[in-house]
């Protein structure tokens, strides 16, 4: 067939309403994988230096999807809801995970390039801070709920500080390691700078 008879067709992109179906499924699948990793791989670690895979997974999701602010918030809420399905993780996650997700979103907006050679360290940095924020908001809500009005000294924050810092460190390493392979498997281009 000759070139002249070929006509190129273009499709008008509908205005984007919320996350695409693919993005929503990606969040769901990553959170499911996070729950499974928490169960299987978490067992290798002792308390203190233990990764929190749910936080790691929504950080990864935000890195991959690049959502808008309210979409990041929704990703956080979804992570909080999933956490409710495991006994022992109280309602508190419904507050702490959205906080972590929103922090992650804002850190991705910071226009600073953090590269050494070809490797970007923004995922590490952002995950570290997001995990810290999530951890502290969890702790803050816990204190608020359990100690409000009680005339008793609370457990010192320092006890938890170590745990939160350890979790943040290990989470940031895990997200850094997972980011590139997952992005490649999704068939998305790897760019050096996460801010496009």
């Amino acid at each position: 067939m000759s070139q002249e008879t070929m006509r190129k067709r273009t499709i008008q992109n509908k205005s984007r309403k919320g996350m695409s179906v693919t993005d929503i499924l990606l969040v769901g699948v990553l959170l499911a994988a996070g729950a499974v990793l928490k169960f299987f791989v978490g067992a290798f670690f002792t308390a203190g230096m233990k990764p929190n895979f749910i936080i790691a997974m929504y950080c990864l999701a935000i890195l991959l999807i690049r959502p808008r602010l309210y979409e990041a918030l929704i990703i956080g809420i979804l992570a909080g809801v999933i956490s409710q399905f495991f006994p022992g993780t109280p309602y508190l996650n419904l507050i702490s995970e959205p906080v972590g997700a929103v922090v992650m979103y804002f850190l991705m907006q910071v226009p600073i390039r953090m590269e050494i050679g070809k490797i970007t360290f923004k995922p590490v940095f952002a995950t570290f801070i997001a995990t810290l924020c999530s951890g502290f908001s969890f702790l803050g809500t816990l204190y608020l709920l359990f100690y409000a009005g009680a005339n008793v000294s609370a457990m010192p924050v320092a006890v938890f500080l170590g745990i939160i810092l350890g979790t943040a460190t290990i989470n940031s390493v895990i997200v850094e390691v997972l980011y590139v392979p997952v992005k490649l498997a999704l068939g998305r281009k790897v760019t050096n700078d996460p801010v496009q």
């Binding site: 590139v180 392979p181 490649l184 498997a185």
Partner: protein, 275 residues
């Protein structure tokens, strides 16, 4: 080489038997097909061979090592195991590192490793891809990377769980020819397959598994004629054997189209059919 005695297995005490009193001897250099329906216990039996699962009763010995007491990582030096889904094992940033992973685990000498990786890659047609990221490769290529990483361990026994699923015919033949040449070099091959044509083309011995029991165990040509057992296991004989059986004892030993054509020519031509 491989000796399985009265092997029974259940996942836990309340669960039904997945493997029910299996006894098998597999000798050096054999090429064995393990066939049966999904859920017949094929993969469970394979996993007994390298100690991923331990017998509930009975014993499995590989080269004199009892799988119940030897660690899987130690058995990995004797028995190479290729899982069905290559994505379940690939994790490295390059194909080279992926092939190298098992070698480092089994503590091979460092200077031998590089040469061996390049040789294995050459065998599987992966030379040009050693620096590529495996996650950007096609499914067929990833399957070959997974096979390479298992072959690199140069074990005497090779266990393959459906190595050809999801591949086109050309890729399937390529992989099977490599496996065949390894068998000719003296390696023992045990393979699960649903493709009866692959079984008939490559495997000398076929074991039919059904509900955790060995239903048939004999030369491939003989087993694939046992229509009743195959039917029970949800399998059908290859087309040529099905066809040959319609003619009673006339084409008794026929396996390939070539055999069949020769047999037909020899009976048809003297009968005076126009040539």
């Amino acid at each position: 080489m491989i000796s399985i005695r009265n092997l029974s297995y259940r996942y836990n005490k309340k669960a039904p038997l997945v493997l029910d009193n299996i006894s098998l001897e597999i000798g050096r250099g054999e090429f064995v097909a393990l066939v049966g329906q999904n859920g017949a216990g094929k993969t469970t039996l394979l996993k007994q061979l390298n100690g991923l699962l331990k017998p509930s009763s009975g014993s499995v010995t590989i080269n004199g090592l009892d799988t119940a007491t030897v660690k899987t990582s130690e058995l990995a030096c004797h028995i190479g195991f290729l899982f069905q889904n290559p994505d379940h094992q690939i994790f490295c940033g390059t194909v080279y590192d992926e092939i190298r992973f098992g070698l480092v685990n089994t503590r091979r000498q460092q200077e031998l490793i590089d040469g061996r990786i390049r040789r294995i890659a050459g065998l599987l047609g992966l030379e040009g891809m050693l620096d590529r990221n495996p996650f950007t490769l096609s499914k067929g290529e990833r399957q070959r990377v997974a096979l390479a990483s298992v072959l690199a361990l140069e074990t005497e026994i090779l266990v393959l769980d459906e190595p050809t699923t999801g591949q086109d015919y050309k890729e399937c033949v390529e992989i099977m020819e490599i496996v065949k040449s390894l068998n000719q070099q003296g390696k023992t091959i045990i393979m699960v397959s649903h493709d009866m044509e692959v079984v008939v083309d490559y495997c000398e011995r076929t074991i039919v598994l059904h509900n955790g029991r060995v239903l048939e165990d004999d030369d491939t040509g003989i087993v694939l004629r046992k229509t009743e057992s195959l039917g029970m296991a949800g399998l059908e004989p290859p087309q040529i054997i099905q066809l040959a059986q319609r003619f009673g004892p006339l084409f008794q030993d026929v396996i390939s189209p070539e055999d069949m054509a020769r047999a037909i020519i020899s009976c048809a031509v003297p009968g005076g059919v126009r040539a």
